[in-house]
Amino acid sequence: MVPPEYYLLLSAAVFCIGLFGILTRRNALLILMSVELMMNAANINLVAFSYVWGNVTGQTFGLFVMALAAAEVAIGIGIVLVLYRNFDGVDVTEATTMRW
């Protein structure tokens, strides 16, 4: 059996890749994809530790997380669409009508 620490390392790596993507990308769609990576990093943990602890709580919650991530993307795509129509592009740095 693979020691549980390895799963934690894997999920942390996937999470950080997603975070890196969010911080460096300017395309709204790529940012949404990076968020998916971060959510799936959580799923790795949930499924792996569901096995370690011997209950299905984590696996079940993993399914919920997947469904919610899909719902979030559905809303996200809608907003990216109106972004494209208003700003002629999906570059998030273009939308700067408000400033502090």
Partner: protein, 506 residues
Amino acid sequence: MSVLLQTAEATTPMWSALAPAIVLALTGLVLLGIDTVWSDDPNNTVLAGTAAGGSLLAFGITAWFLVAGTGQPQTGGAISLYGESLVVDGMSLFFTLITTIVTAMVAVAAYDYLDGHEHRAEFYSMVLFAATGMATMATANSLATAFVSLELASLPSYALVAYLRKNRGSVEAGLKYLLIGSVSSAVFVFGISLIYAASGSLIFADVASALGSGVSEMTGVVGLGVLMIVGGMAFKTASVPFHFWAPEAYEGAPAPISAFLSSASKAAGFALAFRVFVEAFPLGAIPAGVDWVLAFQVLAVVTMTLGNFAAATQENVKRMLAYSSIGHAGYALIGLAALTAGGPNGDVLGASMAHLLVYGFMNTGAFLFIALVEHWGVGRTFEDYNGLASAAPVAAVAMTVFMFSLAGLPPFGGFLSKYALFYSAIESGFWWLAAVGAVNSALSLFYYSRVVKAMWIEEPSGTFEIQSRPVGLYAAVLFAGLGTLLLLPAFGPVIETAQTVAAALF
């Protein structure tokens, strides 16, 4: 834990304790149904009436439950449902009360604000679905239901902020809210997965006992998980470090939605934060080294200072209110920051809840006044408000009440709630938190009184072309103003209820 309802209600099924959330969800579905069945564009009056009626019904049921003592010690304690993943107790009812009354005010105000817009039925139904999520957040008793209800509250909110889809500001605000929201919910769910890794459960009580019994050696993992959950809460309550969305989203969104997000959504975030940290990570059971109280102390001080200083530099009134809303999140965070392992914790937590209730009235009212001003087409800066009192004296009186109440001046509801909050913080031994709060309150008087001065003292630069007296907006603003005033004499029972139901948590 699972206790049946008392004899008088023994015939009612257990799930009927969730009636407020069920009513809100059904109203949302009915609104969609009206939209489908109605041949053409549905009548705005029918839609607004259904939405306001549904949320007032939910409010009535919640108030009745709270008075009757449902889920409170005198009728047998908290009602836990569905394998303890939801719990109805005094605190959940108290927060549902805030959510439902704010939803009702927003629905009434939106009646005029949405005049001439498309997709009104979707607007109202999304407000109701978001309110369902907020009411469920208050009852969540497991990290799974916490996450699902948080998303149910967030997802419609993203769409609502971007509702004015041909307005660049609204779309930009929706985008920023969506991006920061989805990142913070990813951080939140990763935190949940780390807590699950360390404890093997998602139910709050089981997490607490697993962490307390030292089953797991993974203190580092627990610490990181708790920190990430703090991050998720900070987003929902618009606190540092996930506050960046708030000024943009509140400024760009339709003003009734700004009111909804800054009052109801913030209160729901606090409801969840209070329950998660008190029930799942209780002080004393949590491994040493995972000091979330310290994290909240830092966040409270930074949030209120940053919110108030940024608000003082604004020229746009709506944006000033957005930053003031961040400042108030800082005050409410004192409820978590002043907890101690043995102290009289119910007092400070209850004071924070009472402040959120008063804030629900005064802040919703202030944002709805902005909606009224936007409806008239008056500009958005302080200068544009010059002399507004001569054109609309009644609304200006209401706004003056909101401003002074938000600042915490004596004859208004906001004074007592802030006083109770700071007093209970001192009682718990955190005099410095109260001191920082008081200094910030004094500073806030500067920018709140700027609005009052512009409206009453300054000379108007031109003439106002105010042709209409929108009934819905006026009704909502005046109701909020009345609530703010009535909470002064009624503050005694409110704070008593809040502190009793908060004490039941410990």
